[in-house]
Symmetry: D2
Subunit: 326 residues, 4 copies
Amino acid sequence: MRFGAGIWLFSQFIDRYATDAYGPAVSTIEAIERAGAVGDLEVLDINYPFSDPGITVEEVLRALEANRLSTWCITPHIYTKQFRGGAFTNPDPDVRRRAIALCEEAVHVARRLGAPTVKLWPGQDGFDYPLQADYGELWRLAIDGVSTVAAMDPAVRVAIEYKAKEPRNHLTWSTAARTLLGIAQTGRDDIGIVVDLGHSLFAKEAPADVLQLVHDHGRLFTIEVNDNWREWDDDMAVGSVHLVETLEFFLGVRSIGWDQPILLDQFPFREDPVEAARTSIHTMRAIGSAIDRLDLEALEDAQRRQDPLSAQRLVADLLLGQTPVA
Amino acid sequence: MRFGAGIWLFSQFIDRYATDAYGPAVSTIEAIERAGAVGDLEVLDINYPFSDPGITVEEVLRALEANRLSTWCITPHIYTKQFRGGAFTNPDPDVRRRAIALCEEAVHVARRLGAPTVKLWPGQDGFDYPLQADYGELWRLAIDGVSTVAAMDPAVRVAIEYKAKEPRNHLTWSTAARTLLGIAQTGRDDIGIVVDLGHSLFAKEAPADVLQLVHDHGRLFTIEVNDNWREWDDDMAVGSVHLVETLEFFLGVRSIGWDQPILLDQFPFREDPVEAARTSIHTMRAIGSAIDRLDLEALEDAQRRQDPLSAQRLVADLLLGQTPVA
Amino acid sequence: MRFGAGIWLFSQFIDRYATDAYGPAVSTIEAIERAGAVGDLEVLDINYPFSDPGITVEEVLRALEANRLSTWCITPHIYTKQFRGGAFTNPDPDVRRRAIALCEEAVHVARRLGAPTVKLWPGQDGFDYPLQADYGELWRLAIDGVSTVAAMDPAVRVAIEYKAKEPRNHLTWSTAARTLLGIAQTGRDDIGIVVDLGHSLFAKEAPADVLQLVHDHGRLFTIEVNDNWREWDDDMAVGSVHLVETLEFFLGVRSIGWDQPILLDQFPFREDPVEAARTSIHTMRAIGSAIDRLDLEALEDAQRRQDPLSAQRLVADLLLGQTPVA
Amino acid sequence: MRFGAGIWLFSQFIDRYATDAYGPAVSTIEAIERAGAVGDLEVLDINYPFSDPGITVEEVLRALEANRLSTWCITPHIYTKQFRGGAFTNPDPDVRRRAIALCEEAVHVARRLGAPTVKLWPGQDGFDYPLQADYGELWRLAIDGVSTVAAMDPAVRVAIEYKAKEPRNHLTWSTAARTLLGIAQTGRDDIGIVVDLGHSLFAKEAPADVLQLVHDHGRLFTIEVNDNWREWDDDMAVGSVHLVETLEFFLGVRSIGWDQPILLDQFPFREDPVEAARTSIHTMRAIGSAIDRLDLEALEDAQRRQDPLSAQRLVADLLLGQTPVA
């Protein structure tokens, strides 16, 4: 297994109640250094603009090199104040143009940092209230936006991160299937999907199912991992709530032959971020070892029969250890 | 507005606790007579096999005529005991063949009853447990099943009714987008979708959104309506919980120019079914009248600006009446 | 650990779609024999009336003895057809009297079978629709009902099984706290609670939290276990979805010093019930062994600091095994 | 109807994504002025500390008087950075003492502003992860905290605002029943509850039910209103999603004889706050007028029979208008 992380894991957290933030401000350079301190990360998903307009791409590159990290993708901040009413789906064409312009900068920065991908997470695109929006128009604008960004540079592809809600009450790119459908409408093959284990749990999907589905459609561009309580994007340590489904997800990751890094997407509001990252990596390595010990043939045999009790026994023995019969 | 109903609305209800049923047994013929008693229904969605093997298609036809009803679609019982482990996705090829054979009978019956559509609701197709199934294989089998049925008779098309769960813990055809995606994979244009307002609420979709989406893909074959508490398919009277979104849904129905019947899908376990149907029709007619009074231009103007407060005021004035300023 | 089961685990299952049932009819005597075949069960929760009016208490006793089982509690069928509109909360006083009369029979049967408890699960008590009920009146009727049953025989106490919904859309006894509150209003000390792990997950509680809460109030009368997807009472094998919280629950069971049987509450619709029970017992034994290996002091130390990462590492190491550092 | 608002409605919003905030900074004085601009508000729930340490109680009083507003309650900021690990339930006794000290200041300020109540919303009290906390200890600390604050000044009572989650993944005071239970454990009669319509919807309660329950226990100290999608505390305009249950809630408010102000609890991230408040008030007034027109006897009669279809027809006729029979 190879690992990476979203740089926000190492940044300052804030929410609508602790408006004085959960910790001190952290620059992009400091966040890279924290990521380096984890010791097991190879790549970062880096937000653009950087924390400070004075920070140059060269400085970021140097910091990455100093910490033996490279850039997996650039994620433009298309969900901040100026885009609070939407980025690609904003009713105001001027704001939409600004969103596209920011994405264009992100594409350039991706090139310069050697990242093959710009990740788009249009967290303000969607709607809050019933009857607020013309859904057909929202969908057209959303598809136009990602298509426009994908067309900017043949060397930089686009990965869409879907999520059911937050900060909008309903996001336009909400589920894996919806996103595959929208991508098909673009007619482009340089647009793919971020399968985020937590967003999938939160969308009430079976994560291993949509991993396979997105892979089978040739749209699996990147994988992010975390856990949550399935009602919100809690961004918790990997496997901390849904250990069985997390194990199943990593079985899927292995089965499709994924050999790229897997990225952490955590918000350790109240914990040390370096330790939070290490804990997830520790868990994922242990899951990997557990999978090495799993009798895959027996599992496949159970699945051929769609036999849940045999599958459940295999998992219980794997996770809880052989236990003497009474 | 024109109305129809699923015949089950007028049948006997049972569940896993009241195993002695909520009411007496009802034959297909008696259910048709109850449907006729509603007074406002034009069409029925009829389950096949009929309640009793002795009932002939001719008898059903006569009962329909006597009650001024026609057949909107035939829904084969591919979710009874023999299909408890799945119909199209059953691991046993013999059971899969039996499911296809039953669908073939349903296609014939649809022809003879003059119904243009066989509705497929594979309620046992999917999985219950993590690690129980090979998801790629499940999806292939699911798509093969509906394709095979669609190919049976050029005069009878197939409509898939998606639902998130029940009786399986996870159904294969779970959301509108997932179903559109699977239909696209079939490459056929005679497979469409039942947009069921309740299933859409239950899937945490915005019903008016997916109505538009399915319509835009040319896959809107039939519409069913009811309400629920958004966590289960409670099959309640229309508009009883989510009145605002129901109003929005009917605005969408009008906006796409739907002039076909809208079918009730209710399970009035503890109420008189004829009165339950009438109550929903009463509500839908009143919604229709309310929409007649709505200032559509003002709503469209609000939606162009994605302005929820203006939309909310229009709805509040429509539903609650003009109220004197304090 | 000691085990028991609800007798329904070994009975016939039916639901609103597979109305021809998931398996053949099973008599109370046959269900007892199946329970005996599991090999690890000590006690049963037995529904009354028995499957057939011809079955006598003596026959049940003999069957229990032949299978080395005893009766943990009697659960009257106050949720069948005649009680579809409610048992204790039914608007019709005649039906309420019938419910009380059936409970009185159950109390007598409990005595004769040597069971210390009548379990009340008023699954039809509550409401389906907004505005359907006078909530204050519902609550009074619900409390009156359980009080009346508790007062019947000083040797037979009452345990209330709370559940959020089903078959009613909203049940009156919905959560642990609500049930504790209602019990306090009765002023009786012979009314307690069934903490059902699955109902607790489904109610979005933290099961280990409410186990402690109910225990601290002196109201923990019985414990039932299973798992689900947290949106419905799926009654699945123990630990199959929420393994981490199930482990935490069993830590709680040990911590409060529970030495009574723990009862299985499963509905293995599509599986062999004896194997389904054995699988859950296998998992619970393995959880017990895992707890034996857990460094409880380290866990308590983490909990004193409310330190989730340390707790998570302990659990990961316990369930996934020590893994070599990369 | 009389109205008030939480002062935060008029303040600056921020969240974890739009970390540059949804609007400019707003001082406590400016927020009071905005509240005054609504034109229909009588009282405010005011956060303490004020936005700026330089603002005095006298300045606040003058601003309130200038805007014809008074103070309904003071809500201490026990959920900011210093309390991110919990206020009353923080594992560190020093932080717990600081929380108590801040509440003591809030009690003094309440006195000086003439507010009868300090509202406690311990949004950081609870837990995020399974196995993180000793639940019994958490509960004891939570109860101790509110008891200590209630004991500070006989003229200032305490109202607990329960909420299921956020910012903690699980809050200690989570539901109405749980909160009633904890209050009973304090043995005090100066501790009550804020029934927040949105928190109740979000907790999957029936809001009109818990309003009655809390009232019947003599613990209804204050009422807050808003709406949400029932999965998160979206803090939307009143009646915008759950209009039928909102109507039922206001029927309950009238039925218990509530003549105190009802407070808005909204977060209009993307809307003008004054207009957002006015829209909710507009809706509530219209609901009040609708209730005036409702045939209460007919509704009570339906409820006596627990007849949902009659209730539904009354509501449909009230909200949608009499409609001609086809």
